[in-house]
Assembly symmetry: C4
Homo-oligomer: 197 residues x 4
Amino acid sequence: MRTVRLEAFSDGVFAIAATLLVLELRVPPDTTDLVSALFRLWPAYAAYLVSFLTIGIIWVNHHTLLEHCKRVDRRFLYLNLLLLVAVGIVPFPTALVDQYILTEHGATPALVVYGLGAVLIALAFTGIFLYTTHDHRLVGDSPSARRLREEGRLFPIGHGAYTLGIALAFVAQVASLAVYGLTALFYALPLLPLPKR
Amino acid sequence: MRTVRLEAFSDGVFAIAATLLVLELRVPPDTTDLVSALFRLWPAYAAYLVSFLTIGIIWVNHHTLLEHCKRVDRRFLYLNLLLLVAVGIVPFPTALVDQYILTEHGATPALVVYGLGAVLIALAFTGIFLYTTHDHRLVGDSPSARRLREEGRLFPIGHGAYTLGIALAFVAQVASLAVYGLTALFYALPLLPLPKR
Amino acid sequence: MRTVRLEAFSDGVFAIAATLLVLELRVPPDTTDLVSALFRLWPAYAAYLVSFLTIGIIWVNHHTLLEHCKRVDRRFLYLNLLLLVAVGIVPFPTALVDQYILTEHGATPALVVYGLGAVLIALAFTGIFLYTTHDHRLVGDSPSARRLREEGRLFPIGHGAYTLGIALAFVAQVASLAVYGLTALFYALPLLPLPKR
Amino acid sequence: MRTVRLEAFSDGVFAIAATLLVLELRVPPDTTDLVSALFRLWPAYAAYLVSFLTIGIIWVNHHTLLEHCKRVDRRFLYLNLLLLVAVGIVPFPTALVDQYILTEHGATPALVVYGLGAVLIALAFTGIFLYTTHDHRLVGDSPSARRLREEGRLFPIGHGAYTLGIALAFVAQVASLAVYGLTALFYALPLLPLPKR
């Protein structure tokens, strides 16, 4: 099966989920001091940046993985759909962090939900990764495919980091958000090598 | 006529309709107990999941059908447009279910509208299916095309299931939502075979 | 210059503008009688349908025109951008019609703005049509290109119809909305022939 | 690495950011005089137009630059992601200008934020431009690539104009908005030549 439409649909969901994030950047309607209201929005800017980068970086990895795939099958389509369900939900925890990170009662649950959303994406991507690379099913056995499989072993580091972020949500909220941001950057490392042609 | 732009436009509508669903996931603005508010949102999570999967699976079937089409004509474009009208409306009944499934007066109409939306998609897709496969018009007469035509006879099962879901909306609301979810999974069965190349 | 990215960007704007229309379908938050509230939404359903079809049909014509173009130039890109500005604005007049067609003071201005938006799209599309077909600039001089040029002479009928719709907004609102819907269907006629290959 | 998916993802973000702008065009809910409310929305129309054109024109330049690139690498993907972060944020300053340009306390900060957003896009695009053209890294050394590099020297004019717009926000708000619009048109000049084939 050709991958072109799979990519178009996936790219659409990635791009829309990332671009919808901006809708959460808004000043309260009864603002009389716009300057200080804009400064008080800093958690929303931080969450926008972390979430956009998370989606963008998972897109780069999705892209790299599919470059290795010679073909996809129907099971791949459904696994991919689960990843898109997880990516599409990102604006929801992002909005929670925007609104609740500065409140006393809401910061912890907001950051926990944020971390759970990130874990969902990481699990779905790992599932796709294992499905495509296992048993040379979809990516073959070239040297670069072998390196791909090896580097994929580093994925649990990201999973562990998100778990750490969830734990930190209970004791140090800003540290938790920082861990989420740094984990996105971890996935930005060139873990998945490009195919040699 | 080339199908590439038809696919791009359709993929766009599918992806946007699916990703807009997240906008309905929102905690009421005057929440003081975020944890219990997040738990009380369960119908919204369920509706998000069912609707996203419904759109995703209809996308897979649309994709599979077009893989069989050697070409499309102008009538196909307009039939496809009706399907997109139906897919694009999905966030509306989804929002109704989110907001009204837990109310006494609103659960039944919300679930009826949800079912009508699903029936609309199923009818439009069946229309496209019949148009493309009838009389070898657009999909030819290869063995896989013949199997495609045969499997398409199972579509009425899905239509019947949605009708059942609408009927259940009057007596057992949660069962109705479950039927909608299961019918989406029914369409996920590999009813439409991939073309052999 | 290749047309593939031009088409991707245009398809994105067409698809998003059409799919954003659903956000205007919403029941007032303090609804206690959902069934009658759903019936009272009929202008929103009608406006959703007319606007979605208008965008979808202009997409079909845009698609057909580009099939004839052997290449595009930078001026084409900017003319196309003006068309996208006009298409992207459609959800605004649609929302006005939704909200004001049943009010005494607002129906006329809402329908006038709706008609002006449609005229804007029709003018921008005619501009692109004239630019590409004039003097064999971008579409060449094959027999099908010649027929394309001839059929394009029927465009002013659509412009006239939209003007009629605007005039009717002052005296007969439902007739005005009907004219907008029928004009969309007029553009659905196979005015622009497909290229022969 | 192929550029097709990079373009699809980027086109998605460009198209969505531009089309989301329409959501800010809305009449206050308690309007009784729709005609004058529609006229009072003029800053929203102006901001819609300037922002849509800014995004559309940066898209044309992005498109032109990528036409010159023979390949992209992973660093390019991440630089491009920063550009998309900046483009995706455009609806936020646009909404600020819509809401605050007619208020006494808010016009200046709204226009400053608008200018900062434009500077962010201009910086990110210049970064991509320098990365791809520096040392013949991604665009080679054909005559048209050389002309590309030369014309890129005009970019600082745009940066300077945005800085002027930010300064004007403190003394003459309408002039500031006009400078932002004119700077978008400056980038519409054919600075980046198309590749010769």
